[in-house]
Each structure stands twice: as C-alpha cells, then as structure tokens.
C-alpha cells in the first residue's frame, strides 16, 4: 500500500472534478443538516417529555360550594367522601405513586404565588378555589385507570390530566420532526444520485488510468480506493458543514433565542449535539462510500 501515491491520486481526482465535488459537498451538507436538525428536534421532544412528565400529575378537584356539575348536586364534598376518595387512591398503589391533598387555603397560597404580579390574585377569594388531591402516577400514560375510577363520582367535580395538554404540543413537535426527516430523506436520495453520477463521470474521465491499472494487475481494491476515498472525503467535508449548522442551531437558535424566551421548559443540552454529530458523519460517509462502491462495481469491472 502506497499511502502517498493514493493520496496524490485522490487529490488529482478531486481537482479534476472540482465542480462536481463542490456539488456533492453542498448536497451532503444540506441533507445531513436537515437530518441533524430533525434528530435535534427529536432530542428536544425527549428532553421536554422527561422534564414535564416528571412534573405532571392528575388533579382530582373536589366539589366546592359553587360547583354545578351533576356529580356535585349534593353540594360541597363531605369529610366522609373525602376520606373514601383518599383510601380508594391508596388502593391504587403502586400505579399511584404519591398522593398529596391540597386544601382550599393551600390552593389559595399557590395561586397567589403563581400570579404574584397580576391583579387577578386580588380578585380571587379563598373560597373560590376548590380543594383537590394531586396524584403522581408511576406511569403517566395510565391516566385512564384513575380517570375511570373517579370521574363522575359524587363529591368530585373534575379529574384533570395535565399530560393531555402537553401531548398536543409534543404531537406538533413530532410532526415537525417527521417533516424535517422526510425532506432530509429526499435530499439524501438526491445526494446518492449525485454521487452515483459523479462517480460515473470520474470513472469515465480516468478510464485510461484505470485501464492500465487493470492491465498491469492492480487489485480491484487498489483501483477503486482513490474513488472511494474521494467520495468519503467529500462526504466528510459536507458532514462537517452540516455539523457546524447543527452546532449553530444549538448555540444561536436554542441558546440565544428560544431558551431566554421560554424559561419554563428545558432545552436540549450539548450532550445531544455531541450524540447527533457522529451519527451525521457516519450516515454521510456510509451513504457516499456505498453509492460510490455500487457505481464503481459496474463501471470498473475486472
């Protein structure tokens, strides 16, 4: 193996096909950037799910004096009803992980904290807020078990799952991710087609060299290696550009723009970028080398 000889062949090949090389680098960069961003969105959804599912709980609001749902026809919840609900919740362990009773006074305190800077807090009296059980589930997806057991029972005004609200938002993000992934997929197909064509042109423009190589008994591997390295090098450059794009997305769009504006939620950290970058690089190189290899098998026969 003559590393220096191979390197000079690769360099000459890239220069000879400069416009095609640039086209390959750009399409690889664009398609991989889209691919990387879609992976970043996916990581973002996971981060937010971890962040929020940990905090969401099922709220069981008990009837207060002003409640007008049918289950509250009996008026304000009685102490017996409340005790019964609590013991029923206890019987649902271990699905029910934590049970926390929030009295009217506590509800009022919390409300005042949440809306500390708002005039709304002044207009709400302690009695207007319902007492509730806050229930944390070991598996947030099994909300139905709790809902079917308690919704509509006398003394219970409403059973509320915070997760359902979040899920709508996550579905939106997942939809965006799917679209980005589809576009990335189409772009990757375009990239593969372009590489196939580039290799065909490269094999044709160097048919004199490859013909002589075959004739003097160079192995297939040796004949194809410069072409494969060229494809891998272009893909690496394109992937580097794409990774730079994802890093910029994280550093500018997420850290500078989104994070300061939406402080109530968590955003992906650099670990996610660190995990995505090698996937992008490997995808780019693998696709390029595979496309090149399959093309060359056809055009550089023994």
């Amino acid at each position: 193996m003559r590393a220096q000889f191979i390197a000079s062949e690769v360099g000459a090949g890239l220069r000879r096909n400069l416009t095609m090389t640039i086209a390959v680098i750009i399409t690889v960069a664009v398609s991989l950037a889209l691919f990387g961003v879609s992976l970043l969105v996916r990581a973002q959804v996971t981060t937010m799910q971890d962040f929020w599912y940990d905090k969401v709980e099922v709220s069981i609001f008990l009837c207060s004096r002003g409640s007008d749902t049918p289950s509250c026809a009996g008026g304000e919840v009685t102490a017996a009803q409340r005790d019964q609900i609590e013991s029923d919740l206890e019987s649902l362990r271990p699905l029910v992980q934590e049970i926390y009773y929030e009295s009217k006074t506590e509800a009022y305190q919390r409300f005042k904290e949440q809306f500390a800077n708002s005039p709304i807090a002044d207009n709400v009296s302690e009695n207007a807020l319902p007492e509730s059980f806050r229930v944390k589930l070991s598996d947030p997806t099994k909300y139905d078990v709790v809902a079917s057991a308690f919704a509509g029972r006398p003394g219970i005004e409403q059973v509320n799952d915070q997760r359902q609200i979040l899920d709508k938002f996550f579905r939106l993000l997942n939809g965006l991710q799917a679209i980005a992934l589809i576009i990335a997929g189409i772009m990757l197909v375009v990239t593969v087609l372009l590489i196939v064509n580039t290799m065909r042109v490269a094999a044709f423009s160097r048919r004199r060299e490859t013909g002589i190589m075959r004739l003097v008994g160079a192995s297939n591997f040796y004949i194809q290696l410069p072409f494969l390295l060229e494809a891998a090098l272009s893909a690496t450059l394109g992937a580097a550009l794409a990774i730079a794009g994802v890093v910029a997305t994280k550093a500018i769009v997420i850290d500078q723009i989104l994070a300061p504006s939406f402080q109530f939620t968590a955003f992906v950290d650099w670990d996610a970028v660190l995990a995505i970058a090698p996937v992008m690089l490997a995808t780019g190189i693998l696709l390029a080398v595979l496309a090149a290899f399959l093309t060359l098998r056809k055009y550089l026969r023994v």
Binding site: F5, I212, L215, V216, G217, A218, S219, N220, I223, V302
Partner: protein, 241 residues
Amino acid sequence: MNPTPVPESAGRVILFESVSKTYANQNRPALDDVSLEIEKGEFVFLVGPSGSGKSTFLRLVLREERPNTGAVWVLGKELNRLSNWKIPALRRQIGTVFQDFRLLPNKSVFENVAFALEVIGKPRAQIRRVVPEVLEVVGLEGKESRRPDELSGGEQQRVAIARAFVNRPMLLIADEPTGNLDPGTSVGIMKLLDRINRLGTTVVMSTHDAQIVDQMRRRVIELASGHVARDQTRGVYGYGG
C-alpha cells in the same frame, strides 16, 4: 465442483482446448473450436485478416473475455475456474503492449513505468531501483523526465514495453505493436521484443506486418474466420496475404 482432469500440457504458457467464443448479439463465432499450445520461451506471431479472431484470442488470454466452451489455460491456471479476485495476480505475470501505446500523457517516462509498480503496491525503494534498469533495457536512458508528447512513436512504444516488462512477466502480449510505426522504427521495436524473448519471456504478438514476420522466421499461427488456418514453427506471413 466438477473437477475436469488437468491436461498434461497444462504447464504450458498458453493452452487452448477446443475454445469457442461467440459475442452476444453476433451470429458468427469469433473463435471456433480452437486448440493450440504455446510453450515457455517461444516467440509466436499471430496473423490473419481483421475479424479473424486475433484480438479475441488475446482477450481470452488476458481473461478480459471468457470462452463459451472449451478451456483456456494460462501459466498453469484454467481461467474459467479462476475467481475474480485472483485475476490481478495472473495479470501481474503478463505484460501487455498495444498499437496505441496507452501511456499517461501527464506523467513522465519514469512515472509511466513506475505507475505499473505503484498500483500493485511495490515499495518505493524497489521502484527507484528497477525502473532505471528497465529503461536501459529498452534504450531510453536519459529520457526519464520526458513526457510522452515529447517522444517519437517508437520511443513511446519503448516506454509501453518498459512498463509491460518492468515486472519481468512470464508472458508478453503484443497487440500489433508496430501498427503505428514506420518500417525503420518497427525493426528497432522487433529487436527489443526479440531481446526480451531471449531474456526468457514468452512473446505472443499479433501483427499485419508481413515484412517483420518474414524476416524473423519464428512460429506463425494464422487465424481465419475463427479457425487456426496454419501453424508453422519457422513460418512466413502468408501467401499473397
């Protein structure tokens, strides 16, 4: 997995056993039931009109084509049973020269010959040693740094012969090597091929040059319409051909 018996003469440099070759979308076979042997150290002229099967014969020896029927043995290997990845090893023992030289225009004389060694992974020290040697054999010493377009046709063919011979192959295939050269230059090339033959390399040369064949008085195999029409040990080009 159908072991055909190895013929006694399989050790010959070239052995054709009832070889027929018909190209796709052609009715007439390019070679039709050809059997012949070429022994080590021979110098063989392959003559016959265009389309008689000379090129097919050479392409079969180089395993650029496979026969439809029959067996081609080259340097002790039955080419039909030779797996693809072993072909380069076979070709390293065969030097090839063409009418159109097939040099790389952007490389010097030295680089063109060195290329043949570089692409089979020979170390640089060896290349630096053997390339000047072979350039001396073909009579191109002092012209190492010339480009092909600075050389005459005869000199270009000498570069091609140096490239074919630098590996000291067992067999040299020359496909009309003097076809583009004037008679005076051709004589020089023939002297060179003769010298290579005397160094132990078997030479098979296809040609249309009657004068050369008649002067050399070597074995002549004449092909006509895919058949061996004549095989003489000290032959001439032909009668009225």
